[in-house]
């Protein structure tokens, strides 16, 4: 009994939502109909909460590459990268990612979550190093710090001055200082002032890790991410295959040769199975696609700008400037739950997020734009959000906001 007592509060929330048939956290994609459509609760729905930013889930070249890998290399590696789980495909993808980003080194991990866990836990010695993290960093960065057993200091979100103060307070005997930020933050769709963070971090002799999970392939002229213009000054760059590359896996790229030692020092690299050959093959094919065809990125931005402009026109309370993530804020969890269900009833799936998973006190509905959203999809999204703005005054900007 004692083991389960902690679930009492969760149970009240979870069972209440389940009983009402309105649990945003137990959605099933009953039938996938394409990159932006699936059947949910028996109904064809526009997917706008799937982080398929560059629409690569059904690309012919990626599917063919995955099928070939299945036939030639089998279904799984049955081992960790440290032992028998490194195939030539893993090494090729590491080289291609490094080339794309313009750095010399790259290590592929089993997921994006594991990549950050592996980077932080592998780099940090808790007895002599310290980690400084942006307050709004993703859970995997917090978890990486915890796995490392590191002294972890939070600084104010997107505030280089707040980092500056905290770096100045780090005791002089501390050996390594690792600063962690993200490129685009996934809850609001806001973007880090990376150049300023580079300057502050390096002025204090700290290394900078930028997690571009949501911005890799999307920001910058070449799609290298929010950090593209200062790539030669970034110490570590982490990313995922599960968003713009529409596969699963993650990586840490770096200009420092020492990142190779993560293969020996990082438990999340050593003690989990490596990505299967077909997931590596589809990620590599998607990388080839997005690297060679900038029109995919341009289409995403066209869709994002169109939706953001339409939502602004509707008076919706938006969290940030135009970005591939467009979030509408609500003061209460109850309003957000009701609005999420309202959208689903109007044939639109988005993500719902509630505190403490959100940056502030607000709950939010998060729309993830895709380059694969068709004009019909965009029309359906604008129409559903238009009805939402009508039905939920709480979703609109008011004098108080």
């Amino acid at each position: 009994m004692g083991l389960f007592e902690k679930f009492e509060k969760t149970a009240t929330l979870y069972n209440g939502l389940e009983a009402a048939g309105q649990n945003p956290f137990s959605v099933v994609m009953e039938e996938v109909l394409g990159p932006t459509r699936a059947k949910i609760r028996g109904r064809e729905t526009v997917l706008a909460g799937t982080h398929n930013y560059l629409g690569q889930t059904f690309e012919k070249t990626a599917i063919a590459a995955g099928q070939k890998a299945l036939e030639v290399e089998g279904t799984g590696t049955t081992g960790s990268r440290f032992a028998n789980g490194t195939f030539s495909g893993h090494k090729k993808l590491e080289r291609d990612l490094a080339n794309y980003l313009g750095v010399d080194y790259c290590v592929v991990f089993s997921t994006g979550y594991v990549a950050n866990l592996g980077a932080i836990a592998g780099l940090i010695d808790p007895s002599e190093d310290v980690v400084l993290i942006d307050a709004d960093c993703h859970a995997c960065i917090y978890d990486g710090c915890q796995l490392a057993g590191a002294q972890t200091i939070r600084f104010r979100h997107n505030d280089p001055e707040s980092l500056d103060k905290r770096l100045a307070r780090v005791p002089p005997e501390t050996k390594g200082k690792l600063v962690c930020i993200e490129g685009m933050y996934s809850m609001y769709g806001d973007v880090a002032p990376v150049k300023e963070f580079v300057d502050v971090a390096h002025r204090h002799g700290a290394h900078l890790l930028v997690d571009e999970a949501h911005s890799f392939g999307i920001y910058g002229e070449k799609g290298r991410g929010v950090a593209e213009d200062v790539m030669d000054q970034i110490d570590f760059y982490s990313g995922t295959f599960s968003k713009s590359l529409a596969s699963i896996g993650g990586f840490v790229a770096s200009r420092h040769p020492e990142v190779e030692y993560l293969r020996f020092s990082s438990r999340p690299y050593k003690f989990t199975a490596s990505p299967s050959p077909s997931t590596i093959a589809t990620a590599n094919a998607a990388l080839d696609n997005i690297a060679s065809d900038p029109s995919i990125r341009a289409k995403l931005w066209e869709n994002a700008n169109r939706l953001h402009a339409a939502f602004t026109q509707l008076g919706l309370r938006l969290a940030a400037a135009p970005a591939p993530v467009i979030s509408v804020l609500f003061d209460t969890r109850e309003e957000a739950f009701a609005a999420w269900n309202f959208l689903l009833q109007h044939g639109v799936y988005v993500n719902m997020a509630i505190p403490p998973g959100t940056p502030g006190k607000e709950s939010l509905l998060r729309l993830a734009v895709s380059s694969a959203h068709t004009p019909e999809d965009i029309d359906a999204l604008v129409s559903a959000y238009s009805a939402l703005a009508e039905a939920f005054p709480a979703a609109r900007r008011s004098a108080g906001h």
């Binding site: 310290v130 307050a135 917090y142 710090c145 915890q146 057993g149 590191a150 002294q151 972890t152 200091i153 939070r154 600084f155 104010r156 707040s162 103060k165 905290r166 307070r169 780090v170 005791p171 505190p355 403490p356 006190k361």
Partner: protein, 105 residues
């Protein structure tokens, strides 16, 4: 204001440890934390050193970390996340701030 320092047990004095100066400082830190917690005190409970941040005030772990950033900037100290995650009550938070202030003095 639901928060006052009046009911704070003077545990430091009872244990005969800290000097009067630190006791005064202790009250100041306690009051500072109460003033930061006040806007979040939706349950309306009286804030004492024994108030449990999560169980009594029903504020989430991230809200506690945000309050700590205000404390850090007020006292020009850095309190690691791992230290905060081990504190449950206002009193423990006050103590953690004192330890950090001493270490970083």
């Amino acid at each position: 204001m639901a928060a006052t320092g009046e009911s704070a047990p003077k545990s430091g004095v009872d244990e005969g440890g800290p000097s009067g100066g630190i006791q005064e400082d202790d009250d100041l830190v306690f009051r500072k934390i109460c003033s930061l917690l006040d806007p979040l005190n939706h349950t309306g409970v009286k804030l004492t050193r024994d108030t449990d941040l999560v169980a009594d005030l029903e504020i989430d772990s991230v809200a506690v970390l945000d309050i700590v950033m205000d404390v850090e900037d007020t006292y020009d100290i850095s309190i690691p996340v791992n230290v905060i995650s081990e504190t449950r009550t206002i009193g423990q938070l006050v103590d953690a701030i004192h330890v950090t202030k001493k270490d970083q003095a």
